[in-house]
């Protein structure tokens, strides 16, 4: 076992944020289910209660919207002229956040700004909050910060994201050292791969299923397959063909994923008939079924602060318990039971 692999396995990206496709979609389904249940209960308990519950987004629709808002985030990042690493980090934060939270619970248009702001912070690029906020319409610094805490919790405090950009620079150096190829060919592949890496892995689930080097090689093979073949031949010289084939098939599957979102889609995304036809109804639907209490993040944040300041337990809750004979305790017990049986919802690590 190569030590590089072992070291990657200690990273938070592998420990907390790598899943098999089946596991990832089951997480999204559960998330969607929890949000639906919570919002339904909230709507029914409002006074007067609503007659009919709205139609909720399915988890597949949530995913489509997430992809859409990821592109929004990338466009906003380009507008802010942020460095590539920060753009990518912010995009990964957004995608991670909506694995542990539903789009119906927290508004994606606000969260993407918070992701950008916090992405800058976590990459050590400290931007003034006021300067950041004034770049966006109707956005105060307060709004950007209101979701920061929720975001950190949602991404499980894993602030370090490993990107394939430096890996590409390394691979290109390696190819130049080998000297088997025309310099122009290498340059062309370099440029194209960078373009792909800036978009395709961020708008797909590539980061959740593949390592940075796999993503880099997949993108490079999209640009020029021969170069990747040559590198693999060198890397696996003297080892079994089987291992090389194994790695090659992983690269191929990563490539298939990336090819669904080629970088040209960044500019096509807007205005295209397809996007309008499929996104508009989803956005409309979202407006009807979202959590009414969590849309205003600033108010939510204020309410949280207020609650924290009144340290003593709420008298109203106490009264409830007295009246309804330990209803709260039953619930708590049940919750604990499910927590004990359910284990970590993120499950065991990738095989």
């Amino acid at each position: 076992m190569a030590t590089e692999d072992a070291r990657y396995r200690t990273s938070s990206q592998f420990r907390l944020w790598s899943f098999t496709p089946a596991h990832l979609s089951s997480l999204r389904a559960e998330n969607n289910h929890l949000a639906k249940a919570a919002i339904s209960a909230r709507l029914q308990s409002s006074v007067p209660p609503v007659d009919h519950l709205p139609e909720f987004l399915t988890s597949e629709e949530e995913l489509s919207l997430l992809n859409f808002y990821t592109v929004e985030l990338l466009r906003a990042a380009a507008f802010l002229e942020l460095p590539t690493d920060i753009r990518a980090t912010a995009a990964v934060f957004l995608r991670r956040f909506y694995i542990t939270n539903s789009i119906m619970t927290y508004p994606p248009t606000e969260l993407l700004k918070t992701c950008l702001f916090f992405g800058c912070k976590s990459e050590g690029y400290f931007m003034r909050l006021s300067k950041f906020a004034e770049k966006f319409p109707n956005t105060s610094g307060e709004v950007v910060l209101a979701a920061e805490y929720v975001l950190c919790q949602g991404i499980r405090f894993a602030f370090d994201v490993r990107h394939p950009f430096r890996a590409l620079e390394g691979a290109i150096m390696e190819l130049r050292r080998l000297g088997d190829f025309d310099a122009k060919r290498v340059d062309r592949a370099h440029g194209r791969t960078r373009e792909i890496l800036k978009f395709s892995p961020l708008v797909t689930d590539a980061y959740f299923h593949y390592t940075p080097s796999q993503i880099m090689l997949a993108a490079l093979s999209m640009a020029d397959e021969g170069l990747v073949q040559r590198m693999l031949r060198d890397a696996f010289a003297g080892q079994g063909e089987a291992e090389k084939e194994n790695v090659w098939s992983v690269i191929q599957s990563a490539r298939e994923l990336l090819e669904r979102e080629p970088p040209e889609r960044m500019t096509e995304y807007w205005g295209s008939q397809e996007t309008n036809r499929s996104m508009k109804p989803l956005i409309k639907k979202l407006k009807k079924c979202r959590d009414p209490d969590r849309v205003d993040l600033v108010a939510l944040q204020k309410a949280r602060r207020q609650q924290a300041e009144q340290k003593k337990p709420k008298p109203t809750l106490k009264d409830d318990t007295a009246i309804f004979g330990g209803a709260v305790d039953d619930r708590e017990a049940k919750r604990r039971k499910t927590a004990a049986n359910g284990d970590d919802p993120f499950g065991p690590s990738l095989g």
Partner: protein, 563 residues
């Protein structure tokens, strides 16, 4: 809430929406600026269009392309309209926005009390349902891919422009279903509109999304005990594992900084970011992070009860240590720094009181509040890092591009301090620090450090002192490290960072293979009372010097006169 005039302006400008550059703008002046310019000049659409094209020059073709195909998507247009109105609005915007919000939060609280009965009932019912569903497990994963494929076909994400025909078929199959269901929803009215938003209800809600569940799970694993220390930056508590009380941890609760108005403090972000990734016996372990109800961050750290290296160095009467003990400590420090650098992390605050000691005597590097990843060649870094006494000359000279060599200098200062049992170069100001370096380790000149005189903040003392020889080091008392030890120390304290030894080279140095062998962990000198010290160390903000210390310590050696 745009005023009438704003709306009018937006209306006038509406044909320009299509022109206002999208985010992918490579030009240096942001669209915001351009829009406000257009808006304030109150130009007609045609004129504005012209202006826009002139201003953005480089993007002209792109814009023209956009004009040809009017933008249809609602959201994009909304962004544009919002941007226009934000630009057109001047000054008083935020106030106008805040007032109605305050009203909204205050009013429903009263309503809430009266409906507690109903809500509790419903909440109970809800959680029962939830539990049931959770017990049954997730929807069968085997069903998911097919569903996913079906809807993905409708999604634009997987459509290729080339096979439009094929896709049209797929859409025809799936769309009737979709239309039927959405029509039903709209005939039911829009329920969300009738519900009064109530943030307080969300806070009190007992339903947990996955993020909250995971956070609760982490929190539940530990029990918080007595307070070990309290500071402006953080409070430190003793804690233990809930299911194994013998397993102790230190819980560092980072306080919300009132004066820092930019959200989560950078120290906390840096510390969490790097400690999450570094797992090594000589680096403090971050078990987990969780947030408490009051939105404070709680870092669950390894419990290191035997204080820090500074404590041992200072207690000259109570703690005696020799060459073998120092070798063991220096070894552990070097491995920690090597591991950081191997993972492309600069610690940037190495000093004795950031070297904590575990129950078994193992030294652990802590406090990553100033750490950062290695920078790319073109990105500048701040030179205002590392506690002054341990700060290398290149940082004092304001260098913005530096390497792991800055940490190695600090290691050298720590080694010297271990031997001297006093800070090696305790300057009270940055200027004094430079003077001390010149005096003790030689004046940086073009000969010993090419290019140094070109550095932005290059200054030296009044007289030029030559770099000390090995004999001088030995005369000063560093001979206690042995011949190889002195050699290693000299290499860590080289003025020119390019010639300074690296952590990797340090580990290969012959110092480790010469006698005496480093002391085994269990035989290392130790001292009681570490618990309070741990509390004091963890709560301190990074980069701060305990000024009182240097003043008390007698300047033992007259370095200046020696030359």
């Amino acid at each position: 809430m745009p005023t009438a005039t704003t709306q009018a302006r937006v209306a006038v400008l509406s044909p320009v929406h299509a022109l206002v550059p999208v985010f992918a703008s490579p030009s240096s002046a942001g669209p915001h600026w351009r829009v406000s310019k257009i808006a304030s000049s109150r130009l007609g659409a045609a004129r504005a269009m012209h202006l826009c094209a002139v201003v953005v020059g480089r993007e002209r073709e792109f814009i023209l392309a956009r004009c040809a195909t009017p933008i249809r998507s609602g959201v994009w247009q909304r962004w544009q309209v919002q941007r226009l109105s934000a630009a057109a609005r001047t000054g008083s915007g935020p106030d106008r926005l805040q007032q109605p919000r305050q009203l909204r939060t205050a009013e429903p609280i009263a309503a809430l009390r009266s409906t507690t009965f109903l809500r509790t009932r419903l909440r109970g019912a809800l959680s029962t349902d939830l539990d049931l569903d959770l017990d049954l497990g997730h929807p069968s994963p085997s069903l998911l891919p097919r569903e996913l494929v079906a809807t993905m076909a409708v999604s634009p994400m997987v459509l290729y422009p080339t096979d439009a025909l094929q896709n049209a078929n797929i859409r025809a199959v799936s769309s009737p279903l979709k239309n039927a269901s959405s029509a039903q929803a709209s005939s039911n009215g829009t329920p969300a509109a009738t519900v009064v938003p109530n943030a307080a209800a969300a806070v009190q809600s007992t339903s947990l999304d996955i993020a909250e569940q995971l956070n609760e799970d982490e929190k539940r694993k530990y029990v918080k005990g007595k307070k070990l220390g309290e500071g402006t930056y953080a409070n430190v508590y003793l804690g233990h594992l809930r299911n194994d009380p013998s397993q102790l941890v230190a819980i560092k609760k980072i306080k919300v900084q009132k004066e820092y108005t930019e959200g989560m403090a950078p120290d906390a972000v840096r510390e969490i970011k790097h400690l999450q990734e570094l797992s090594h016996p000589n680096i403090i372990t971050l078990h987990t992070v969780f947030s408490s109800k009051d939105q404070n961050l709680n870092l669950v750290l390894e419990y290191l009860p035997l204080g820090d290296l500074e404590m041992l160095i200072r207690d000259e009467k109570g703690v005696h240590y020799g060459a073998a003990d120092m070798k063991a400590w220096i070894g552990m420090l070097t491995r920690a720094v090597w591991f950081c650098h191997e993972n492309f992390v600069l610690h940037r605050d190495i000093k004795p009181n950031n070297l904590l000691i575990a129950a078994d005597g193992e030294v652990k590097l802590a406090d990553f509040g100033l750490a950062r990843s290695f920078s790319d060649p073109y990105k500048p870094m701040t030179s205002n890092v590392i506690t002054r006494w341990y700060r290398p000359p290149e940082l004092l000279y304001g260098v913005k591009h530096y390497s792991g060599a800055v940490d190695i200098w600090s290691v050298g200062c720590v080694i010297a301090e271990l031997v001297m049992r006093a800070p090696f170069m305790p300057g009270n100001t940055e200027l004094e620090q430079i003077n001390l370096i010149c005096l003790r380790l030689g004046t940086p000149t073009e000969e010993n450090w090419p290019g140094v005189t070109k550095l932005k903040e290059y200054t030296t003392g009044d007289t030029v002192t030559p770099v000390p020889t090995k004999t001088q080091y030995q005369q000063w008392g560093f001979g206690a490290l042995g011949n190889e030890g002195v050699d290693l120390l000299m290499k860590t304290l080289r003025l020119d960072p390019k010639k300074r030894i690296t952590a990797r080279e340090m580990l290969d140095h012959e110092y480790w293979s010469t006698d005496p062998k480093p002391t085994r962990l269990k035989d290392l000198p130790r001292k009681a009372g570490g618990e309070e010290k741990l509390g004091a160390d963890l709560k301190r903000p990074p980069g701060m010097v305990d000024e009182s210390r240097g003043n008390k310590v007698a300047r033992k050696l007259d370095f200046g006169a020696a030359n």
